[in-house]
Symmetry: C2
Subunit: 186 residues, 2 copies
């Protein structure tokens, strides 16, 4: 197991560089996951996040009903899985039953499953803001726990050298992505 807790005041650094995430939620015996390029940190401490959940998604209903969601940060080795997750709806298929490689992991401290094989995870409590949820599909959450794969993230920094398959994915459109590249600066 290479998943290690990330201290909450540094949890924003898991999303700060703009990766596409997977959003998972569970309620009433149903569980689902969707892809979301439209996400960002919203505060440092307590850490908050923002994510766009379209009205057509099945996951949105699970988030609204349960008041919880998890953001998992997928990696290059998962690119086909991420595109498949984004191209199907939980209204129509049970993704866990139909998508090879999709694993839901139940972890203490998270009220929704983490997605196996990802490189970072943020467990979030919904901060209800009905107006922006309805008007803009915009959902806000407080991060209550965070973890990262210690092979590529530690001490508040990503270090992907030697782990190209674990580099984060940054969706452009239509299943076309850029992966995280060189580290520069201080």
């Amino acid at each position: 197991m290479t998943r290690r807790p990330v201290e909450l005041p540094k949890a924003y650094r898991l999303l700060n560089h703009g990766p596409t995430v997977l959003v998972s939620a569970a309620h009433g015996g149903r569980c689902n996951v969707m892809a979301a390029a439209w996400n960002m940190p919203l505060d440092f401490s307590p850490p908050k996040v923002a994510v766009v959940l379209d009205k057509a998604t099945f996951t949105r209903g699970l988030v609204e009903a349960s008041g919880h969601f998890v953001l998992s940060v997928p990696c290059r080795a998962q690119v086909e899985l991420v595109t498949a997750i984004g191209n199907r709806s939980g209204h129509e298929v049970d993704k866990l039953a139909t998508l090879d490689g999709l694993r839901f992991e139940q972890v203490p401290g998270a009220d929704a499953p983490l997605i196996g094989g990802c490189v970072a995870w943020l467990a979030c409590r919904l901060l209800p803001e009905p107006h922006v949820q309805q008007a803009y599909d915009l959902f806000l959450g407080e991060v209550t726990a965070a973890w990262a794969d210690e092979r590529v993230h530690s001490n508040g920094r990503w270090h992907f050298e030697g782990h190209d398959g674990l580099r984060t994915l940054h969706h452009v459109a239509g299943g076309h992505y850029l992966v995280a590249g060189d580290a520069i600066g201080s």
Copy 2:
């Protein structure tokens, strides 16, 4: 001049991969620019964006007063400039007068200056949402015009090959960035 208009329904693709942006605004004879890693697309058509503007920033006041802002997407060749912009406040210094390499470009269709040397630009009209502005420092805007550097973006795709200095910057923390890397997928 390599700046070309981007059709509005594809403007989200300039931000979809999560680059750090520069936010500029002008009002009453003052103009300023700040750095913002916390930004994301919010809708396709009409395109909308979300960006976090801390209460301590000088630019926030210019956005509130003018109702307009521009997001410019900087590149690897500008990394020192971006960090310098992020480390200073318009409350204390005139960034245009003090930062080497900072150029404000006035362009028809934008009510705030575009930042020269960047690789994409989105002119935005503030969508006033006083509650989330005050509670979360969260600002929403409708994109009214967009442009990209045709050397690295055309037909809704980034193509950085052969232009490493023009790759987008993705801030992690403290002046440390990842640059956009390989293109993968469809």
